[in-house]
Symmetry: C2
Subunit: 113 residues, 2 copies
C-alpha cells in the first residue's frame, strides 16, 4: 500500500459521520446498509451522507451495489485489513502493535537508549 493510499483511507475515517457510518457498516457485515438508512441513523441530510459515502468509496473502504431503488453500501474488510497492515508495518515498529509494543520488550527498537 502506497502512503498516499493510506492517507486517503485515514482521512476517510477521520471524520465523525464517516467513522460512524463505517462502524455501522462493519457491524452490518456483507448485508450492508442502504444510503438512506445510514443518513437517518446518523442524522445527516441525504446529500451530506452521499458526500461522505463517496469519500469512503474513493478510499476503497466501502463497496456499493444497487438493489432496486436503494444503493447498499458495505464495508470492504480487505481494504481495512490493508490499512491495518500498513499501520502495523509503518507506524508500529514493524511488529503487531497490540502485541509487541504495549510494554513488551520485544520491540525492534530499544525503548531507551
Amino acid at each position: 500500500m502506497q502512503p498516499d493510499h493510506a492517507i486517503r483511507a485515514l482521512a476517510a475515517l477521520a471524520q465523525e459521520h464517516r467513522l460512524a457510518a463505517f462502524r455501522l457498516l462493519v457491524k452490518a457485515g456483507a448485508q450492508g446498509i442502504p444510503a438512506g438508512v445510514l443518513a437517518d441513523r446518523i442524522g445527516v441530510p441525504a446529500s451530506s451522507m452521499s458526500f461522505h459515502l463517496a469519500q469512503l468509496a474513493h478510499a476503497g473502504l466501502v463497496t456499493q451495489r444497487r438493489a432496486s431503488r436503494s444503493i447498499i453500501y458495505s464495508a470492504d474488510y480487505d481494504a481495512m485489513n490493508a490499512l491495518m497492515g500498513y499501520l502495523t508495518e509503518n507506524c508500529c515498529g514493524g511488529e503487531d502493535c497490540s502485541v509487541a509494543l504495549s510494554g513488551s520488550d520485544s520491540c525492534k527498537e530499544p525503548m531507551i537508549r
Copy 2:
C-alpha cells in the same frame, strides 16, 4: 478510547507530512528526532513542521522533551497501540483484522447473508 479521540489520531496521521514525520519517529524509537531535523528531512519550513508536530502531540501520538536547544519528539507507542486497538474493535468486526477478516470464515458477522 472515545470516538473523538480516535478521530483526532486518525486525522493527525491523515496528512502527508505528518505521516512522514510519524514514520520517521517510529523508526527512530525512543531516541527521538529534534524538530529541526524532521523539518529538514521532510523538506518543510520549521514553522510548518511545528504546526504539524503540535497536531501529532495534541492527538497524543508523540511526546516531546527538551534537550539543550532542541526539542526532541518521539513516537508514543502506547497511543498508536490504543488507536490500533480501537480500529480492531470498531472497524474490523471485533477481531484481529489481519488474521480474522482476510478471507477467513471466522468473522463474527457472516460474509454473505
